[in-house]
């Protein structure tokens, strides 16, 4: 439903977005990751028709953003970064304004507004002016505004930024719930969020796509992916490391820490299921007391740093 082709944006001599292409289908939640200034917001602003691309095309629901900007804007809901709104309006009158602009009237309008208020949990503040609201409520007003017309495409720039953990959870649940019949793009720099709600992640840095795949594939890029973290009762012993290293499925063993008479090793393995089996056999035969054994999924922040810093380091060299 969203097709982005060779999209570029230049501000003077600075290239904010450098020829990126991707597409998002119905039912998909795409997480946009990247360091600050990587071009996430700029890309979103071009998709929503706020910024004009320097080169490349964007089409939303079959409408080209340059040729049919109004049709594109009709078919998408957009939560801009920081959720700007008209601060001197009440939540109710603000949503009424949005409904008017979206062309609703009468009972349909009331229904849409009530629905958006319910979904964004705004019942308690509908008669307050937006400027008096907390950051979390403001964000939810922005969200209500974006989903009011039940658009097939949703673009949200940092939808959970500034929310407390409960509110984050609510917003994520809401996004997940809507994901079934929509194409959704969210940008975030919270990596756990990608794992929690996205079907696909794109990492961009310096205006280019560094990674495009599922969160699982992203985790697989981590060195620690599929590692088995083993905690044994007792002080570190060379024997343990030696025995573990001799197992078929194990590549390398690393001593991690020793806390309160229990020692943790990290076991690097290709096939974690097999490794876990072998390790438990070994533990039994050696009569080790296992405090904890855990398969690591991979550290997203390591992968993130590696992918987004690659170029910078290359330049410095």
């Amino acid at each position: 439903m969203i097709e982005v082709q060779e999209l570029s944006k230049q501000f003077g001599v600075f290239t904010a977005v450098d020829g990126i292409s991707f597409s998002v289908n119905k039912g998909e939640v795409l997480g946009f990751l990247g360091p600050n200034g990587a071009g996430k917001s700029t890309t979103m602003k071009m998709i929503t028709g706020y910024l004009t691309p320097t080169a490349g095309t964007v089409s939303v629901c079959g409408f080209d953003v340059k040729k049919n900007p109004i049709d594109v804007k009709k078919s998408l809901g957009y939560l801009p970064e920081g959720a700007p709104a008209y601060d001197d309006m009440t939540v109710d009158s603000f949503l009424r304004f949005i409904a008017n602009i979206r062309g609703y009237s009468g009972a349909e309008k009331d229904k849409r507004i009530a629905n958006a208020i319910a979904k964004a949990n705004l019942e308690s503040v509908i008669h307050k002016t937006i400027e008096t609201l907390s950051k979390g409520f403001k964000r939810r007003v922005g969200l209500a505004q974006a989903i009011l017309h039940d658009p097939p495409v949703l673009v949200m720039d940092e939808p959970t930024d500034g929310l407390d953990p409960n509110q984050k959870h609510e917003v994520r649940m809401l996004i997940k719930e809507m994901a079934k019949d929509k194409a959704i793009i969210i940008s975030t720099h919270i990596l756990e969020e990608v794992d929690a709600i996205c079907d696909r992640a794109i990492i961009i840095a310096q205006g280019k796509i560094k990674f495009d795949g599922t969160p699982q594939e992203l985790e697989a890029l981590s060195d620690h992916h599929n590692c088995v973290l083993l905690t044994l009762d007792g002080y570190p012993s060379l024997n343990a490391e030696k025995y573990l290293g001799e197992l078929d499925s194990v590549g390398r063993v690393e001593y991690v820490s020793n806390v309160e008479e229990s020692t943790t090793y990290r076991v690097y393995a290709q096939d974690s299921t097999k490794a876990v089996k072998e390790i438990s056999h070994l533990a039994q035969s050696q009569e080790w007391v296992v405090d904890e054994m855990m398969v690591e999924k991979g550290r997203l922040d390591d992968v993130f740093r590696r992918l987004t810093l690659e170029d910078v380091e290359a330049v410095e060299v």
């Binding site: 804007k73 957009y78 700007p84 008017n100």
Partner: protein, 244 residues
């Protein structure tokens, strides 16, 4: 059309949701009274007309209308709400028109509220009411011209103070463009045609004709085309500057 009305309604209710509307109207009415009775000497003149009121109106507008127009676009850009507005299914032209019409009709309302002046003059004497009507029409049209300048300038910057100052200066030039202050600057080197053209752009020339009761189509067309030109520039500026 629907969009223009939606934006127009939002803007207008925005004036009344904040003290802007009340402060503006109260100050406008107070100053109008001061100008009419003290500086204009409505009583002393011994004539049943509203000339003193209309004669000082361009100077009253000069400061009050840019104060109203400075926020039109500068505030949207400052608060970031322009990103919301520009990603709603609204064309820039509709947005510009909606905002302009709201402000224009708001000033129209302020003008209507000067009706006690009209009542007073009708109580004291027998004024030529069609001339007064013509004066109000001119006052409304001229307000639109000031406002169009202010709205356009407001799109140039996100700083309301700058928008105010520049709009005042430009409006001032258009008030005085028929006077030596501006014309002397051109008359030494520019061809007479250009000097005449500049002179004919003056608000005062056209406004003074209307308030005397002469509703000349040319004066009305002057104000309307003036408004349209500035609003067209406004649309272009919003498009260029929205994301800066």
């Amino acid at each position: 059309m629907n969009n223009i009305i939606a934006i127009y309604k939002r803007e207008l209710s925005g004036y009344f949701a904040t003290p802007v509307a009340y402060v503006f109207i109260v100050i406008f009415l107070m100053l109008a009274g001061v100008f009419t009775f003290y500086l204009g000497g409505l009583y002393e003149r011994g004539q049943a007309d509203l000339q003193p009121f209309f004669a000082y109106l361009p100077w009253l507008y000069l400061f009050l209308i840019p104060a109203l127009s400075m926020r039109l676009w500068a505030e949207e850009r400052k608060s970031g709400s322009i990103e919301l507005l520009m990603t709603l299914p609204v064309s820039i032209t509709h947005a510009v028109l909606g905002k302009f019409l709201a402000a224009w009709l708001f000033i129209g309302l302020a003008l209507l509220l000067t009706f006690p002046l009209w009542l007073t003059i009708n109580y004291l004497g027998e004024p030529d009411n069609p001339v007064i009507f013509s004066g109000y029409l001119g006052a409304f049209l001229m307000a639109g011209a000031y406002l169009a300048i202010g709205s356009c300038i407001s799109a140039l910057t996100r700083n309301q103070v700058i928008a105010f100052v520049i709009a005042v200066v430009i409006s001032f030039l258009f008030i005085l463009s028929g006077f030596p202050l501006v014309l002397d600057f051109f008359s030494d080197w520019a061809p007479q045609v250009l000097v005449n053209a500049i002179s004919s752009l003056s608000f005062l020339t056209h406004f003074n004709a209307i308030i005397k009761g002469v509703i000349d189509l040319r004066d009305i067309i002057y104000f309307l085309s003036f408004i349209i030109c500035w609003l067209m520039a406004n649309v272009i500026l919003v498009d260029m500057k929205k994301a800066d």
